[in-house]
Amino acid sequence: MAYLPNSIFLVLLVFSVGLFIRNLNRIRRNIHLGKAVNRTDNALLRWKNMLRVAFGQSKMVSRPIAGFLHLIVYIGFVLINIELLEIILDGLLGSHRLFAPLLGSFYNILIASFEILAFLVLLAVVFFWTRRNLVKLQRFWKPEMKGWPKSDADNILYFEIALMLLFLSMNATDALLQKAAFPNYIKAGVFPISQFLTPLFSSLSTETLVILERSFWWMHIVGIFIFLNYLYYSKHLHILLAFPNTYYANLEAKGKFVVNPHIKAEVQLMMNPEAASSETATTPPDKFGATDVFDLNWVQLMNAYSCTECGRCSSVCPANLTGKKLSPRAIMMKTRDRLEEVGKNLNQNNGKFAADGKQLLKDYISPEELWACTSCNACVEACPIEIDPLSIIMDMRQYLTLEESAAPAALNSMMSNIENNGAPWPFSNQDRLQWVNEE
């Protein structure tokens, strides 16, 4: 019986970490449904980019209030995880505050700073909640944020509030038991924040306190296990994926759109048969452009999982700002929804995709959205973790135009003008220099 708590803890730990790893593997598998794209060049620059943008949060602070609050939660999250290590070891070994004797007075500093951080995180999260639910910042109330995305965002905030409160309550009851010199509760830690909670508990008997302290301890760690596994179902994966997402981001000038290599081979064959024949003939793709997640590259799919639906992209999108249907955030959310649907299909069919008669284009993303884009790159610039909705839009436009000739009529006449007279308007190329002599 003595080892019962340790055993329960071990089971919970193995179960939740195992479940999490299974989900991570599913994400990895789904991302690899995408096409290959070379993003391993220039490793040094990529590391720098990741350190600056993801680790250093350089793009978050372009909006100072949200950036600052997010920084607090981020630092809090990273540092309080040190405490998590102790909690896990305590859980496994049946010890209590294992690090205290080892670290001496440094332990006091640690616990004190965790408490202060926890308090700041609480403040930040309450601020976030207020912005979302009371101030009703526009970007949190767009059409794509109805239903699950809305409650998902709130759930995450409630989780964080609960975890921080449990952490502080655990310390408050612990401090009282330390004061009462209750066996096992060694004198350890300084509690600058939870000292204000102790009056809530000070009238209770030591037996009740022990039950409370243990309950807070268990609820806190179980809460973390639940949160860990909530990640996969939520928009919160960015806490992990922001790092690879920035590492594998596009390093080229934003104005450089991908040159389709298959078309390059065909055009060269057409324009210069002799020269092209010496080049290796590439097998033509089954289609040009993209209709489904399989046609996108794996970085675009990773982008979809990384998106935390903050909506900075849509809030600067000229089309979205002027009431068009296009929302770059929705492009990412729909890509993820479709990818998840495909993933579930794979789970149910032993890893083989069973045709479901659906695709990303039209079933999720409408041509109307795609044609509203001005390709201005504002969404790409605004994303704090370098997600690129524009490339998905352009890949789908390519399909619509090349495979379905479904570009808007005005664009079709623009293109036939280019084909026929080398300009998007119906002017003769022979008149190109007329401006010189015009008044």
């Binding site: 372009s62 000038a253 934003k254 104005g255 450089k256 759109f257 040159v259 389709n260 078309i263 390059k264 065909e266 055009v267 324009m271 210069n272 040009f288 600067v316 000229p318 089309a319 700002l321 002027t322 009431g323 068009k324 249907k325 296009l326 109307e368 044609w371 509203a372 884009c373 001005t374 390709s375 201005c376 790159n377 504002a378 610039e381 352009m394 436009r397 390519q398 399909y399 619509l400 135009t401 090349l402 570009a407 808007p408 664009l411 623009m414 293109m415 280019i418 080398g422 300009a423 998007p424 308007w425 002017f427 190329n429 022979q430 008149d431 190109r432 220099l433 007329q434 401006w435 010189v436």
Partner: protein
């Protein structure tokens, strides 16, 4: 004043090669408003005795709007044709007044075999000043409020924010920034081939949104650096019935005006 606009073909007959090719672009060649920008830039080139030439009838669309409209085939056909022409004349340096041509030539042609040093005219003009070939007299613009609209394909797409601003500052004018500028600049609504179609249904036109941001700075002049932005902002100003008090001008036109060229 008659403009001196040699073509590459003419120079080739004389066995000459210009130091830079001025890529006029379709808007610069055919659009009435943009032609004025083209002429303004040529005036500066003539005044500074820059050794340049144009392709004339041998120039054809870079393919930018086709590519952004999803027609990669047409884009690459245009590109290959242009690269063949440029390479036939051994061109190595290009300047253009259109950020879309600039971006496509600079970023999307190299992979198709076209490697040139490509400059936007604001960069080129800044270089002329640095070399001492061009100086700007600010007199005409003293005390005027000028706001600069960043073209997406010059700014965000290629990180050119300072060249146009440096030129405006030389005018002795007061450069006033819009609420969203530089990396955060709001599109005029023309990019991504939108210039050639009607907008999707919404509650406002993008150029009106941007014009309102510009008017918030109470400018005398909205400076542009792209023929398409120029059109969109000019339309916006007309829509707001402000054409008498606010002018939309390209940076090249501002310089021509300042120097009475």
């Amino acid at each position: 004043m008659t403009l001196k606009v040699p073509t590459l073909a003419q120079l080739a007959v004389e066995g000459k090669k210009p130091s830079v090719v001025f890529w006029v672009g379709c808007a610069g060649s055919f659009d009435d408003r943009a032609k004025k920008i083209t002429k303004a830039f040529v005036k500066i080139l003539n005044k500074t005795q820059t050794d340049f030439a144009v392709l004339g009838t041998e120039e054809t669309c870079t393919g930018d709007p086709a590519k952004r409209a999803g027609n990669e085939f047409l884009f690459q056909m245009q590109a290959q044709q242009n690269i063949a022409t440029l390479d036939q004349y051994g061109v190595d340096k290009i300047v253009t007044t259109c950020p879309h041509c600039f971006n496509t030539l600079k970023n999307e042609y190299p992979e198709l075999g076209g490697n040139y040093k490509v400059l936007h005219h604001t960069q080129f003009l800044k270089d002329l000043i640095k070399e001492g070939t061009l100086s700007i007299e600010g007199g005409n613009f003293k005390g005027k409020r000028i706001t600069f609209h960043d073209p997406c394909y010059l700014g965000r797409a290629n990180q050119v924010y300072e060249a146009p601003r440096d030129l405006i500052k030389k005018l002795d004018a007061e450069l006033v920034e819009m609420k969203s500028c530089k990396a955060k600049g709001l599109c005029c609504g023309a990019g991504g081939a939108q210039m050639f179609k009607d907008a999707e249904q919404g509650d406002k036109e993008i150029n009106i949104e941007r014009t309102e941001e510009a008017l918030d700075t109470q400018p005398d002049i909205i400076a542009a650096a792209c023929p398409f932005c120029n059109t969109m902002m000019t339309d916006g100003i007309k829509n707001k019935e402000k054409e008498d008090s606010v002018k939309v001008m390209d940076i090249a036109e501002l310089i021509v005006n300042a120097n009475d060229l």
